[in-house]
């Protein structure tokens, strides 16, 4: 038997749930304008948002037709004004939780995106895994790509995911969460992929290097190889190395990576040990791989990989003078006191970095020709 005071408490709880729930403010999904792509541009007197909205075609049995996509822009002296101008143009309150990609123009990248990143952190709607890109064209050109029928934001996101999975792009730390983390860390450096339009489709044209939220340079697609190899995770990638007078192509996967920091006599040092697993895919000429040839290919691979990584380290240290490969993290873990007392940005460019590459080569894989058998 429930006693009277307990009954009263239960009833008052249920009533307060009704009154305090705030359910009268609820907006269902169809009462919001769903943004799928947000582009930020720097104008002469402020900022410009260029946003792609999904416009569902309607319920009932015709709903299989899909959505259309419309574009609106809002300009203002600051982000709040630009957003207000955008709000005036949207049919319903803007919903940012479905944004597939956030892009910033080159102008904005060189101006600095730190403030905008902090704004994105404050807006709870944004997913922290949304990717940020730099575009080297105008946002309107991106809109032309979709023709109003496909979502450019979704296309960019899907293209990037595919590249990461297939090994075409081996750097996937350009999401909002990682950028905020980088800005909060001592390194303060990060890379953002550069998206461009090539032959009517989305392509990655390289990486923009950021230091403390401001772009300090661009790594071209070829130049970024070493950095991508260093940051490679699970995906495999085709890689070539010379053998004899020919070229052999292997499928390369990073197995182990160790960055061992050292600090002696006030000098920072790093020993990078990377281990790759390579499977011979094909060669330009018919070659029978014996032990000697295998060893030669292995050495050539190791040498080439070491060169690529060394170039990436050189670019980071000497060209851009920013630690976008995040060497500060293992150093801070091992030498927290020393790290706190030093100016990392000043000391990092002079660090000694040694690279050791080991490749476990498998030539039994899939050579396309075995010379002793003639057909």
């Amino acid at each position: 038997m429930v006693k009277k005071p307990v009954k009263l408490i239960l009833i008052s709880f249920l009533l307060s749930a009704l009154l305090l729930g705030g359910c009268w403010d609820v907006q269902d999904i169809e009462e919001r304008s769903i943004a799928t792509l947000v582009a930020l541009d720097k104008t002469e007197d402020g900022y410009r948002f260029f946003v792609e909205f999904a416009e569902p075609s309607g319920g009932g049995s015709e709903s299989a037709g899909g959505s259309k996509y419309v574009y609106h822009q809002g300009k203002g002296k600051n982000f709040a004004e630009a957003r207000a101008a955008l709000d005036n143009k949207a049919k319903n309150p803007i919903y940012l939780g479905a944004v597939n990609a956030v892009v910033v123009t080159k102008r904005m990248a060189y101006y600095g995106i730190k403030e905008y990143m902090y704004r994105l952190r404050e807006i709870n709607d944004y997913r922290k895994v949304v990717d940020i890109f730099v575009i080297d064209c105008e946002p309107e050109e991106l809109a032309l790509l979709g023709k109003g029928e496909t979502s450019v934001g979704k296309t960019i996101e899907d293209t990037m995911k595919t590249l990461v999975k297939s090994g075409g792009r081996m750097y996937d730390r350009s999401n909002l969460g990682f950028i905020l983390e980088s800005l909060a860390s001592p390194c303060k450096s990060f890379l953002l992929p550069c998206v461009s339009i090539k032959e009517n489709s989305i392509a990655v044209a390289g990486f923009y290097v950021f230091n403390d939220g401001v772009c300090v340079g661009v790594l071209g697609a070829e130049e970024s190889w070493g950095m991508q190899l260093f940051n490679q995770k699970k995906s495999e990638r085709y890689y070539t190395a010379p053998i004899g007078g020919d070229e052999a192509t292997v499928r390369l996967a990073l197995k182990k990576k160790k960055v061992e920091p050292s600090f002696e006599n006030g000098r920072i040092g790093f020993l990078i040990s990377v281990e790759f697993y390579a499977v011979l895919a094909y060669v330009t000429e018919e070659i029978e791989f014996d032990a000697q040839l295998t060893e030669e290919l292995k050495r050539n691979l190791e040498h080439r990989i070491a060169e690529d990584i060394a170039r990436a380290v050189y670019d980071s240290q000497k060209v851009y003078r920013t630690d976008y490969m995040s060497f500060c993290i293992p150093f801070r873990i091992k030498y927290p006191v020393e790290f706190r007392e030093m100016d990392w940005h000043g000391a990092f460019p002079d660090a000694d970095i040694t690279i050791e590459v080991a490749v476990n080569l498998d030539v039994e894989g899939e050579p396309d020709f075995i010379p002793q058998y003639e057909f």
Partner: protein, 500 residues
């Protein structure tokens, strides 16, 4: 001592009060005798052949005064007869379908059971279909039902305690258990509840169920009902008590737990892996029934950012022309489908199909085409409805159907927080009640490893012990049970020690 005249007076009073009482006057060795019975309840042919004829033949040729004791011992041919002496019980015997033979100048009288009550033949089950198990079911006659149980369990320890419930109906109720298995404490509790029933009539098992589980704010039934004799025998072998009543075709099984609603007799006949799969499917089905529409409301109205962007766009597309907010839409559709479900139960079978088609076409197709309701809501509500039919014990889903609305309401006002709150309240209720001393949410709470395994995988050859949470007198089932017993008892002891 009642003499002939007092008997005549008694008979006159009986006939005055109940015109249905038939009186057959006999003359036995010069003494008057009266055979009293109700024609509709007694088999007239048997009465003539086995009572009247032998009594008259005997008393015609035998010297001395006829005596009730002598007639019962060596004259009448009926199997079930006795000598009684309480004159105030005569009317009761007649109303129960007995024939009463009053002999002048003998204070004792004969009561003969020649009941002939019309009842259904044993037929296949209606409420829970079994694919491989026995298909017979109980009927409205207690004797037939008891024979269905006795025919399966020829155990000398099978005990049947008879009760008479209802001041006016005097319904025969049998409490059945196996004496050396069932926990005597449980049996006593149940029988005490039966004895405490004070009402004018008991016309079916459902009424007894209400008396057994009479707590004001109870939602979950703490007994299980079944029309399957094989299932009832299984329950008796687990140490439970089965209650059968005259006039009802459903047996009540007590105690029971919430998880037992998900067990079907087919689980034991099939391969244990398939049994496991079926049970898992049912556990998921109840979660779908309870939660699917509430989660939809939470995602559409409150937590849209939990959805991938393509799903958010699709949902927006589906709901573009819908008139109602998500919560109201779900309530309306759920209500309509509950109406369809109820109407299909009550409607004559010949127009049931038509109602189903009308419901499907009008509610389903037309409303989606017109954009009044969202197709996804209809799919989820129908999935919830179908999932509720996957549970073998149909009646155990009644509270789930009610609680579904509560969960929808809480989610509709507070999003996932309200959803979690509602589920927590339901779980709190489930773990805090018991069924005649057995925790209602066993074997999940309190946790028992042996019973927990059995809740998913049951195989007779691997289940050497009975359910541990029943605390039966004898919990061993097979000859090699004692090997298991040592390990299980030790584990139970350790678990109890950990719980303090």
């Amino acid at each position: 001592m009642l003499n002939k005249h007092r008997y005549e007076e008694l008979i006159d009073n009986l006939r005055a009060g109940n015109k249905a009482v038939a009186v057959r006057r006999l003359v036995l060795a010069g003494d008057g005798a009266w055979l009293l019975y109700i024609k509709q309840l007694v088999d007239g042919t048997s009465l003539s052949e086995f009572v009247i004829k032998p009594v008259m033949e005997y008393c015609g040729g035998t010297p001395g005064r006829p005596r009730a004791r002598k007639i019962v011992d060596s004259t009448i041919f009926a199997a079930d007869c006795s000598v009684e002496s309480d004159p105030f019980a005569i009317h009761d015997h007649i109303l129960k379908g007995m024939a009463v033979l009053l002999i002048g100048n003998d204070e004792e009288y004969v009561v003969v059971n020649l009941k002939k009550v019309e009842h259904r033949a044993v037929s296949p089950q209606d409420l829970a279909y079994s694919v491989r198990g026995p298909k017979d079911s109980f009927v409205e006659n207690l004797d037939v039902n008891l024979s269905l149980i006795r025919g399966r369990l020829k155990d000398p320890k099978l005990k049947i305690d008879m009760f008479e419930l209802g001041r006016r109906s005097k319904t025969g109720v049998a409490a059945i258990y196996i004496e050396d298995i069932a926990n005597p404490d449980t049996v006593n509790r149940i029988e005490a509840k039966l004895r405490a029933i004070d009402t004018d009539a008991i016309l079916g098992a459902g009424e007894i169920q209400n008396f057994l589980t009479s707590t004001k704010y109870e939602l979950f039934a703490r007994v299980r009902t079944s029309e399957n004799p094989a299932w009832v025998c299984e329950a008796l072998l687990e140490g439970k008590v089965a209650i059968l009543s005259d006039g009802g075709h459903i047996a009540i099984i007590a105690p029971c737990t919430f998880m037992e609603s998900f067990y079907a007799s087919d689980d034991k006949y099939e391969n244990k892996f398939f049994g496991f799969f079926s049970k898992l499917l049912r556990y998921l089905a109840v979660m779908v029934t309870l939660c699917s529409t509430a989660i939809y409301i939470a995602l559409v109205s409150f937590h849209t950012d939990a959805l991938p962007s393509s799903y958010a766009i699709l949902l927006s597309q589906l709901r573009k022309n819908v008139l109602f907010p998500a919560m109201l839409e779900v309530f309306i559709v759920e209500f309509i489908l509950e109406l369809v479900r109820e109407s299909l139960l009550r409607v004559p079978s010949k127009i049931g199909t038509a109602i189903g088609i009308v419901g499907a076409i009008i509610i389903g197709n037309a409303s989606v085409s017109a954009g009044i309701f969202d197709a996804l809501v209809l799919i989820l509500v129908c999935a919830s409805l179908l999932a509720s039919f996957a549970i073998p014990d149909y009646f155990s889903m009644y509270p789930i159907r009610i609680l579904k609305f509560f969960v929808i309401f809480m989610t509709g006002i507070m999003g996932f927080y309200g959803f979690v709150l509602a589920i927590s309240m339901i779980l709190t209720n489930l773990v805090s009640v018991d069924s005649f001393g057995v925790p209602y949410f066993a074997p999940f709470a309190p946790y028992n490893r042996y019973d927990f395994k059995r809740a998913f995988v049951f195989s007779r050859d691997t289940s050497a012990l009975r359910i541990q949470y029943m605390r039966d007198k004898d919990d061993t089932r097979s000859t090699y049970a004692h090997e298991h017993l040592g390990k299980v008892r030790k584990r139970n002891r350790d678990e109890n020690n950990e719980d303090g």
